[in-house]
Symmetry: C2
Subunit: 217 residues, 2 copies
DNA sequence: CGTCTTATTGAATTGTCTCAACATGCGTGG
DNA sequence: CCACGCATGTTGAGACAATTCAATAAGACG
């Protein structure tokens, strides 16, 4: 539902959906512990979500691309459980939850949508954890690239060539690897002609062989 | 809500809440892909949830103790995303969702409860992932023991001494470690007089020093 | 154009895994 | 109830993948 709003926001009651000015690179949408008020959908650009750590090094817990939502889990506890920050100039669609309920929108439909999003998030996290926990650096990064490709394809992009808008150390934090390892594996993939790499730009030359790398027992 | 039912099921409409005979050790409550029908709350004993893997080695994704729920994420997709299996003789409270909706129960309250459970699960998984991804074997196992202790305390237990009802390799799968490593670390903890270990029984001698191990930068 | 951040590459270190042997516990059937 | 057999747990030695530290290179941004 919210995903559709992100594409075509014309049929949403005024005052609920907020189209804000483009979000600057590095700008924070919400912080861990902030009182929950809205769910955000990415319209263009990309975001990272993270858990701030006392010891300086933030833990990246997710990346968010057009058509995907952020902050949903906050509805349960009334506060945002993570911080969301733009990786590049981006646009978003903000849906104020309390105002949605006020307006004649069916609360039940709204809740169903939230349940669906959360349920998918739980499932995704479980499979993600499974891959992260037992796989090698090459497998993790291969799976990560394929996952990004797939998610971008859903939104009409080719999925063959795209931009790694996050830093190497963000990728590393997310995948549980040192940023140097990310660097090394990417160059290894390039030498094996699995990908083509030009700074932030990636081109998947052979998704099939990449999938083989990931599935190796 | 469901947690309360797990404790005192007297005020639930008949036919919705099912008290089943005790579940045997090793018995499966539901399997990945099964059509969703019920949420389960643990009354006594313990369970593991897992993602079956084609390559034999199942991935453990969670453990469930009295007062905790299982299968909630299935409501979103209509199928159970994981398999739940009893670690010991246990009792459960099964709540049939479709019948709950049929009965006069407010669908909205029910949905709110589900949202709360899912939101907490998302948050928990995020913090769990954070610890698993960057921490050493000692930190993972220390955090795991402390987490178990804390969850048992919530339900009135002392939390100082409890039973590790899962096998070493279940722990290992869950924590991303070889079962041998789990074994080694536990004996190391024992030698350091952080815990006392008698087969499945653990006694946390110094939760504070254990927390220090976990927090070491 | 210079400064600061991010990325790449190298060399050495180390934690965890793998393989293997052995010990212990548990359930089953005699 | 004991004895057997299989599953589970412990411990050791060696291998290796990823980390850390360090130095250089390349971009980003004002």
């Amino acid at each position: 539902m919210l995903l559709e709003y992100a594409e075509d926001d014309s049929n949403l009651p005024e005052g609920i959906l907020l189209r804000r000015r483009p979000v600057a690179r590095g700008e924070t949408l919400f912080r861990t512990g902030d009182p929950f008020h809205s769910v955000f959908a990415v319209k263009s650009g990309s975001f990272k979500t993270l858990l701030p750590s006392q010891s300086g090094q933030d833990q990246i817990i997710g990346f968010h691309f057009p058509g995907e939502t952020m902050g949903t889990a906050g509805v349960a506890e009334g506060i945002y459980p993570c911080t969301a920050r733009a990786l590049e100039v981006s646009t978003i669609c903000e849906v104020r939850m309390e105002r949605l309920e006020e307006s004649g929108q069916s609360a039940e439909m709204l809740q169903r949508a939230i349940i669906e999003m959360l349920g998918k998030e739980v499932s995704f996290n479980n499979t993600l954890m499974t891959s992260l926990i037992r796989q090698s650096a090459e497998q993790r990064i291969g799976a990560f690239l394929l996952n990004l490709s797939q998610r971008l394809q859903v939104r009409g992009q080719t999925g063959e060539e795209f931009s790694l808008s996050m830093s190497r150390s963000d990728m590393g934090s997310y995948l549980g690897l040192a940023s140097e390892t990310v660097s090394r594996v990417l160059t290894r993939f390039q030498k094996a002609e699995l990908i083509e790499l030009d700074k932030k730009r990636v081109h998947l030359l052979s998704p099939e062989r990449l999938a083989d790398v990931v599935d190796e027992v």
